[in-house]
């Protein structure tokens, strides 16, 4: 009896998980359904599959430009967070920094800042600097939350590397830069990958700042373009479904290709004291 129960458990769990996936796959199916069959249920499955919604999104909507904007802003935000965050994380983890605890607490606290509280001053700042509707505005706004996250994650990863390694490198005559390049660098690389992935994802997904600081196709990101997806007389559900699938492409690639780094970053962010 017990063996039967165990044998049934695996399939049951898989069925439960398939149920979890229904919303995503339903949207995928919708994006491939002919227009005339969208509002008709049953049947559940379409009579044929079509790419007309994807063609409409690429040829008539603002999404292609938004994909480019999101990609550019995401890459620049990630690069900035790493360039500024790596040295800071190293110093926090290794060097005798006055008030380290207070600094760390401040950095953690700033990851918890609600964007709804900082959106009004940042809006005035962006306006005063003449940066409305530019990539720069969003790169800066997104750095406000990706930088503290990056420092926090990387400081944790660096602390996990035994200090003795650096000491023996120094004994062997390696300078600080050589130690960073040849000893710390390779060991912290997976941590950097995790931090970079999370920074990119959070920038790609961010909506409130992107919605507030943009005014046209020049800088609107994917979530904004999707939220503002135009419908003149009726809502184009098929096109929206196609657009939301395209908006998830980087997420799907990261989840499938770089899953280990994503999970490492996710767990490290929560577990590092």
């Amino acid at each position: 009896m017990k063996r039967i129960a165990l044998g049934l458990r695996d399939p049951l769990i898989l069925v439960a998980l398939a149920l979890y996936g229904v919303p995503f796959f339903w949207q995928l199916l919708t994006s491939l359904k002919p227009e005339a069959e969208l509002l008709r249920l049953p049947p559940l499955l379409p009579t044929r599959l079509t790419v007309v919604h994807y063609r409409a999104v690429f040829e008539q909507s603002a999404l292609p430009r938004a994909l480019l904007n999101s990609l550019g802003i995401g890459v620049m935000t990630t690069a900035l967070a790493l360039v500024l965050g790596l040295p800071a994380a190293y110093a926090l983890a290794r060097l005798p920094v006055a008030g380290r605890r207070v600094l760390l607490l401040g950095i953690v606290a700033s990851t918890a800042f609600p964007q709804i509280a900082t959106v009004s001053p940042l809006y005035l700042l962006v306006r005063a600097l003449g940066l409305r509707d530019t990539w720069t505005a969003l790169v800066l706004a997104h750095t406000s939350f990706t930088l503290p996250l990056t420092i926090w994650l990387l400081a944790g990863f660096i602390r996990d590397i035994p200090f003795a390694l650096e000491e023996s490198a120094a004994v062997d005559g390696a300078g600080t830069l050589a130690t960073l390049r040849w000893v710390i660098g390779p060991l912290v690389a997976p941590g950097v990958a995790s931090a970079a992935l999370l920074a990119f994802l959070f920038s790609w997904n961010e909506f409130l700042f992107a919605y507030t600081f943009t005014a046209s196709e020049a800088s609107r990101t994917v979530p904004v373009a999707l939220a503002l997806f135009p419908g003149v007389f009726e809502i184009p559900w098929g096109d929206i479904a196609a657009a939301s699938m395209l908006a998830s492409v980087p997420t799907v690639l990261i989840v499938i290709g770089l899953q280990r780094y994503l999970i490492d970053g996710l767990v490290a962010g929560a577990v590092k004291d």
């Binding site: 439960a16 995503f24 800071a88 509280a117 799907v252 989840v255 999970i263």
Partner: protein, 276 residues
């Protein structure tokens, strides 16, 4: 080495954090160049403002219900994953996908699922014609469900990572001592999950208090303001009514709530460590 990062953080987070306090103490309408100091006026008004108190209540319900559901379902998912032999990687991929997608995409997916005529939810309910997002009683539960779908994987993955670290000997010992599945769960598994779950609750509570995208896109706060949380209320005040000072005051209150929750949890964690 820290100077560049700290300078950027000072400009992008500390400075706005202080500026918003100042903004909340005045009447500010940027497009008309109106800027007038009024002290605590907005806060005094908010203390008895029914719209604000209602948004506060909606935020509390959203936060408590969604975090509770995410916690329970997340632990169940983690246990299922840990007992799973085949298809575990596929399962984790699916869960991570739900968590890592833009919240706006989740909102669009659920908007279509909830569609009165073409929606899958009504079809599964036997062809009912329920206007989920347009009904004042159903809209908030519908939004909570979408949020639970999106964020339960976060709890599940954290709990699962912790479960992998529990040595099998502990379960073996529990079995030898005659503990059934329920006793094993409450006496062995749950105590070991306690710390990671405390942290997961902290992260989830902070995110739920700050949640904006999903209700803003799904309902915009409607119908009849039944899904208008503090964040949506603040946003509308600032960018639709152009009351920057008033909206900032609501933002500051969200800020205060988030910091208060973070502080309480940190104290709890410290006390845990002291007794452990």
């Amino acid at each position: 080495m820290m100077a560049p990062a700290l300078t950027v953080l000072a400009v992008l987070t500390v400075y706005p954090g202080i500026w918003v306090l100042w903004l909340s103490l005045g009447d500010h309408v940027p497009i008309f160049d109106v800027s007038r100091f009024i002290g605590l006026g907005h806060y005094v008004f908010l203390a008895t403002d029914t719209l604000f108190l209602r948004a506060l209540g909606t935020t509390a319900i959203f936060t408590i219900v969604s975090v509770t559901l995410e916690l329970v379902l997340g632990v169940l998912m983690a246990l299922a994953l840990a007992g799973q032999r085949r298809g575990r990687r596929l399962a984790i991929s699916l869960l991570l996908l739900g968590w890592a997608m833009p919240a706006v995409v989740t909102a669009k997916i659920f908007e279509w699922l909830y569609h009165p005529i073409g929606g899958l939810v009504n079809y599964v309910l036997g062809g009912a014609v329920i206007n989920w997002l347009g009904d004042p009683y159903l809209a908030l539960p519908a939004i909570i469900l979408a949020d639970v779908w999106r964020t339960t994987p976060f709890v599940a993955i954290l709990a699962f990572a912790r479960l992998l670290g529990i040595p099998p000997e502990l379960y073996e010992a529990a079995r030898v001592d005659g503990a059934g599945p329920v006793a094993t769960f409450t006496r062995v598994t749950l105590p070991l999950l306690r710390q990671i779950l405390t942290i997961a609750i902290l992260f989830r509570t902070l995110d739920a208090l700050r949640a904006f995208d999903i209700m803003f896109v799904l309902t915009g706060g409607g119908p009849a303001s039944t899904t208008e949380t503090l964040t949506v209320h603040a946003y509308r005040a600032m960018f639709q009514m152009l009351q920057f000072g008033f909206g900032s005051a609501i933002g500051v209150i969200v800020f205060g709530l988030v910091m208060a929750v973070a502080w309480i949890y940190l104290r709890l964690l410290q006390r845990d460590e002291a007794t452990a």
